[in-house]
């Protein structure tokens, strides 16, 4: 069954997995250490992420490494939106600081 990217990133644990492996490829063990859920549950999430090509698996010696596939992520038009929103909120606070500074003069 083909799964789509949107379905894959709708789940918060899967987003957390992507955020982790985007900074660094990880082995299944290293990844599982970051989560309280069972190894089996993490492995199921990885299976879904792999099926929709957000995650690629590569064999290196005896270890498997999970890699993030940013090309696939580009299909999700608004994946940068939370980061933009974080800066938007920050700048709204900055506006107030500047407003107060201007009125103090």
């Amino acid at each position: 069954m083909r799964r789509d990217v949107f379905q894959a990133i709708a789940d918060p644990t899967r987003r957390a997995i992507l955020a982790l492996i985007a900074s660094q490829a990880m082995t299944p063990n290293a990844l599982a250490e970051h989560f309280d859920s069972s190894r089996q549950a993490v492995s199921n999430h990885i299976k879904i992420l792999t099926e929709c090509q957000l995650v690629k698996q590569e064999q290196s010696g005896r270890e498997i490494y999970y890699h993030f596939n940013p090309k696939k992520m580009k299909e999700v038009a608004d994946w940068i939106e939370p980061f933009r929103k974080m800066w938007d909120d920050r700048f709204d606070k900055l506006d107030k600081v500047l407003y107060n500074l201007k009125n103090k003069k």
Binding site: P12, R15, A16, L18, A19, A22, S23, Q24, A30, F68, P70, K71, M73, K74, W79, I80, P82, F83, R84, K85, M86, W87, D88, D89, R90, F91, D92, K93, L94, D95, K96, V97, L98, Y99, L101, K102
Partner: protein, 161 residues
């Protein structure tokens, strides 16, 4: 009605741009990026306390900031300041200390351009070591949004909903 923040992150590139217009002359904007007591008022993310461990805002200086969430987790980041050119430019490095390994450093160019009517255009250009590093930084926003959602949910649960 506040100004829109523009985020540019082209596919497959190692850089991103954060662009925003501000309703103040650039001398003032420059101050809010360089003075500790002013930075503390806006730089921390929602629901987090910000601390400044060090801010030596001059060419050859350095900084180290901490964001602390309500559960006591601390997120530290630091960098060296390559150039401070008042009131138009700051060039500095950035490294998040919470990653599994050192060395994922980015380079930031903060540029302030004067606009008419005492307004200022801020451009932050960040250049990363790899495309994966850049995408990881962008996705940290996603992760944080999720964490804030969880914290809000905890607060609701604590209230008895």
């Amino acid at each position: 009605m506040s100004n829109q923040t523009q985020l540019i992150a082209e596919a497959g590139k190692q850089e991103l741009f954060i662009i925003r217009e501000l309703e103040a002359p650039r001398e003032l904007v420059f101050r809010v990026f360089n003075e500790s007591e002013l930075l503390l008022q806006w730089l921390g993310p929602a629901n987090m306390e910000m601390e400044i461990d060090k801010l030596d805002s001059r060419t050859g200086g350095s900084y180290r900031f901490l964001h602390c969430d309500p559960n006591g987790n601390k997120y530290c980041f630091n960098g060296v300041i390559h150039e401070v050119l008042a009131p138009e430019r700051i060039i500095r490095t950035f490294e998040f200390e919470g990653l599994p390994e050192r060395g994922h450093v980015s380079l930031e160019f903060l540029t302030l351009e004067p606009l008419s009517n005492e307004r200022t255009k801020l451009t932050i250009q960040c250049i990363f070591k790899s495309v994966a590093d850049r995408d990881g930084m962008i996705m940290s926003g996603m992760e944080r949004g999720m964490n804030e959602g969880l914290i809000r949910m905890d607060a609701l649960l604590a209230k008895g909903f």
